[in-house]
Subunit: 693 residues, 2 copies
Amino acid sequence: MKRLFFFALICIYCRLLCAEDGSRLWLRSEPAGTAEVSVSADSPTLNLARRELQAYWKGSPVKLERTGNRNIRELTPEGFEIRTEDNHLVIRSSGDQGILYGAFHLLRLQETGADLSALDIREKPSYQYRVLNHWDNLDRTVERGYAGRSLWLWNELPGTLSPRYEMYARANASLGINGTVLNNVNASPLILSAEYLEKVKALAGLFRPYGIKVYLAINFSSPAELGGLDTSDPLDPAVRKWWKDKAKEIYTLIPDFGGFLVKANSEGLPGPQDFGRSHVDGANMIADALKPFKGIVMWRAFVYEPEDDDRAKQTYQEFVPFDGQFRDNVIIQVKNGPVDFQPREPFSPLLGAMKKTPTMVEFQITQEYTGFSNHLNYLAPIWKECLESDTWQQGEGSTVARVTDGSVYPQKLTAIAGVANIGDDINWCGHHFAQSNWYAFGRLAWNHRLTSEEIAGEWLKQTFSLTGVEQRNSVNVYNEIKEMMLTANETIVDYMMPLGLHHLFAFGHHYGPEPWCAIPGARPDWMPSYYHKADKEGVGFNRSTSGSNAVSQYHASLKEIFNDPLRCPDELLLWFHHAPWDHTMQSGRTLWDEMCHRYSRGAAQVKDYQKVWENALDFIDSQRFEEVRHRLKIQARDAEWWRDGCLLYFQEFSGMEFPQGMDAPVHELKNMRKYKLDITNFENPTYEMLFKK
Amino acid sequence: MKRLFFFALICIYCRLLCAEDGSRLWLRSEPAGTAEVSVSADSPTLNLARRELQAYWKGSPVKLERTGNRNIRELTPEGFEIRTEDNHLVIRSSGDQGILYGAFHLLRLQETGADLSALDIREKPSYQYRVLNHWDNLDRTVERGYAGRSLWLWNELPGTLSPRYEMYARANASLGINGTVLNNVNASPLILSAEYLEKVKALAGLFRPYGIKVYLAINFSSPAELGGLDTSDPLDPAVRKWWKDKAKEIYTLIPDFGGFLVKANSEGLPGPQDFGRSHVDGANMIADALKPFKGIVMWRAFVYEPEDDDRAKQTYQEFVPFDGQFRDNVIIQVKNGPVDFQPREPFSPLLGAMKKTPTMVEFQITQEYTGFSNHLNYLAPIWKECLESDTWQQGEGSTVARVTDGSVYPQKLTAIAGVANIGDDINWCGHHFAQSNWYAFGRLAWNHRLTSEEIAGEWLKQTFSLTGVEQRNSVNVYNEIKEMMLTANETIVDYMMPLGLHHLFAFGHHYGPEPWCAIPGARPDWMPSYYHKADKEGVGFNRSTSGSNAVSQYHASLKEIFNDPLRCPDELLLWFHHAPWDHTMQSGRTLWDEMCHRYSRGAAQVKDYQKVWENALDFIDSQRFEEVRHRLKIQARDAEWWRDGCLLYFQEFSGMEFPQGMDAPVHELKNMRKYKLDITNFENPTYEMLFKK
């Protein structure tokens, strides 16, 4: 009996000490329950704020104060002030939501070891709408999702509410994310059925106190496919009525419903062009239906057709002519780059070019193009690169951040979206470090001036409790891991597609290299050779004035630089130019040597990451340590696969030798050409699958 | 028409320039046909010598002179003198064979760029019998052969003689190899049938002018199994008669037949012990049958039983008591190490301990335990390590070379054997560099005082024509490749089983690591744990006086060293000791850290070999360059597999962390435990198979 007791004690102790499955995300503070919290009013949201602080705050008493003071009102109802006053703290906001955000902010300061002695903080969000896009299908697969199946247990809803829904809401609220599109942009009409709307209502009710509005992605053919109409023509009165009725039905159930996200006439999905109408016709018709209820339409600009011009140009060509014609509750959702979430792209030229229409950036949090949840990536640096890109559209300083946050154009709506990387994996995101991208998206949506390093530091300290002195053999583990995060995307760019190369991915699922992919009869713009255009003379897509002229979609100040192969940044050279193999790069190397150098550097860097992680052994709980270690192994091997696949393939064109001293390939091109991963676009390849590649 | 002509010309040119499939081995001199050669007599062997020189010699006139002069006679009929006399050269020998060897020697000097101005060379062989052992089965599989199927086209013999037979004979003669055992030591009785003897006769006739005698491996049960007797008891008069008759039959067909190689009572093969007789009874019975015809018996000492003592001790235990009891035409063939051709072993203690019985060393040229023909290995250094090991049996300087070559003991027979790595692959040995091991065996058999470096240099110069100034980016390619060869075996030891570890191989085929292998009911001495004995305390086989006491089979001077873990060389520590994981090595590192260091060093070294080879791009014909490059890739990946497999496995016992800065594993132990290569023990795994491991 005594033995059993000791055994139980040991089990509990081990569990406390070791069991870290990542399910608690960055919210890992142990409850103390000692805080004194007073609150001036009562509401579900304020109660949440009080509950969080009562459980986790370990400092002086806190007062939560909703106030109509002008200097607080100007922070918006989501903004807040935190001040030390006498021997207590006050969190003030003009809205309950601001107070909840203030509470989470205060707890973050505590968990990251900030100086809490004399706080005087004023925060307001960079964007009004900070939205996750879930590409979740109703069958619980997640398109481009690599963390298991969908969080949403549609078959149990609305009757059963998984405890994960609330954890999800709390995690989002801790960052300031205030909207979620529950379903895939490749939307099923079924989501608007009465049955599903009841399910949506249940989730919306649960998310409401956390300040999270629910949105839905809609299928433009819903009037016909769900409603039984003959058409879905946006100018057809019956169709317009159907949408108005549907909006009313939704808002009756969910009075604060956020609105619709629409992917129309894109990759085979229906849209207004099917009826000879324009994107404006389509978007405005939906907008009109939502307008009475203050709902908004996020209309995606991601459109391209194989028979048209250079794919990179089509979004701009399609949308710029409509500038100023959209309703005031429409915002155009633009992917950060002109093609498709590549490891690196220049910013989309539509951003800043739409001067009378609000635009919002869509980032991809899920790693469709950067190794799924097998590769360690921290995306803040590449998002910051986009946000800080200067469009020059209203003179120097017209950065993407400022042309979308209302600083440059007086737009009524400001927003930012991120395609979620969340699934039902116990650790939410598949890779423990992929949580940092959910975190970083939320933090940047709230404040796009935060640096990648600040965000990485915050996340690391909260997630891995790396707060004390983290030394092992005189290595500062915290700094090393942070550095690994900060360089991760550049490393992936290096070993996947450096120098402006893009879309060399395996067909369909996009895992692993397939620059040689050639499927008879397939859409040419879905083949890598459409993008890399390698031949004996050189490599890269000529988008200069002598080529597709995509450069001319950029402001003259930029066009001039991008158009000149000698001035175009090396990082984008092959995006804009078909450069000869012996082109002299800014490093002084030839293009071929530079390409070899970058691919090799990338592959070598992953091995260094493995070493960084090994050094962290004593500081990370064993479960998460092992799981990250495991995925780093996959990444190290994949990086060599990428390096070898691309270099050996391009070498067939360059005919040039590998530079002396370069790590030699370990794969044969002819074998790599045969690798076929038996995965869909919503699966993360397992180790065993990769082994058989 | 003109076009066709040019096309043909270009084809021929390309063929001359590029087509190098390795089929010409180290005999790649282009015929000049300008040499003046005179010869004092006429014989098939002398004609061969004349023909070789006439075709390939490019220097002053050569006289071939058979002479009975005492100072030539003392070189033996296989030895020779080469002298510059006036304005011509003379090759002198007391035998035709010596003159042929002299001719090949002179050509080698020419091809390796030696100074030919004033030659005064006297050579005689280190061993009388210099024999290849083919482990070729009659179905043309080759046990532990990785270069295709058997050279011997039994079904075509004796009617058809493949041109490769003569090339084989010429290659052997160029090195001084003078005997070949055509068939596997795991012998089929059928080889002694009248039908097969006719085939053997055809080969013997073809090899005769090249000075190569044919031997056969025999099955001890042949009298019963082939002859239909009731028994194969060596003391049975009918059995003795059967062997005498069989010998007579053979010698009638092949008057210069060499003799028999016998594997008896070993790994399930029949032998005298099956009838309650001893190895002496068996060997002497066979010897008596061969004696009238001057045939010899090479009786293998490779015997061990699972139920007996430490396997490493059994050869010594079994044979030492019989010292002095064998007939004078018996020689005991002893594997270089006490276990089985491991990447590194101490020398077999039987060598030198048999004082009244001739012993010969058996090396394994084929790379059963060093990566098959996929891994680049040059075996001369490890063979030299054995040959130069001091047995101390007759005082300091009683090296293995000297206790087997007749210098230490006045033995009548001296011999050396190598298990061939030859198959019907176009390049003979699978890996182009594996040819160097055939070459090195032959050269060391002729002269065991040659250094590994001398032999590597000779082979490289002849095989890859790397004679001029081989500079690429100021790298001396010849020196780099030679260095790669010289370090290759040590590199393999590093990444497979450093520090005296042994037999960690995958079960059966022996390709890849499987230190965890545990097959229920299998012979314990075929399981890796029998050899590594890893546990929480340490690793290694305690063969010291406190353990199996195998150390005591060595001379006291050595025993003392091997027995003391502080004096035992690091390279053999775990052969002789079960050392604690924190044992301090001679490097100052702990055993665990040193093990990690060596495994990592080995794996990294292969990547360096890849770079060495890449540097050789401009100097090696494309076919051989690509083929070696291909196999180096396999090796680089295999080396990581070995490193990870062994280190992750042993880490489960050591419980110690990897040293900081070490390349982290890229494989998961649990996955490696599942790898099963679907190969037999006579196949070289293909790239595709390895990919699926």
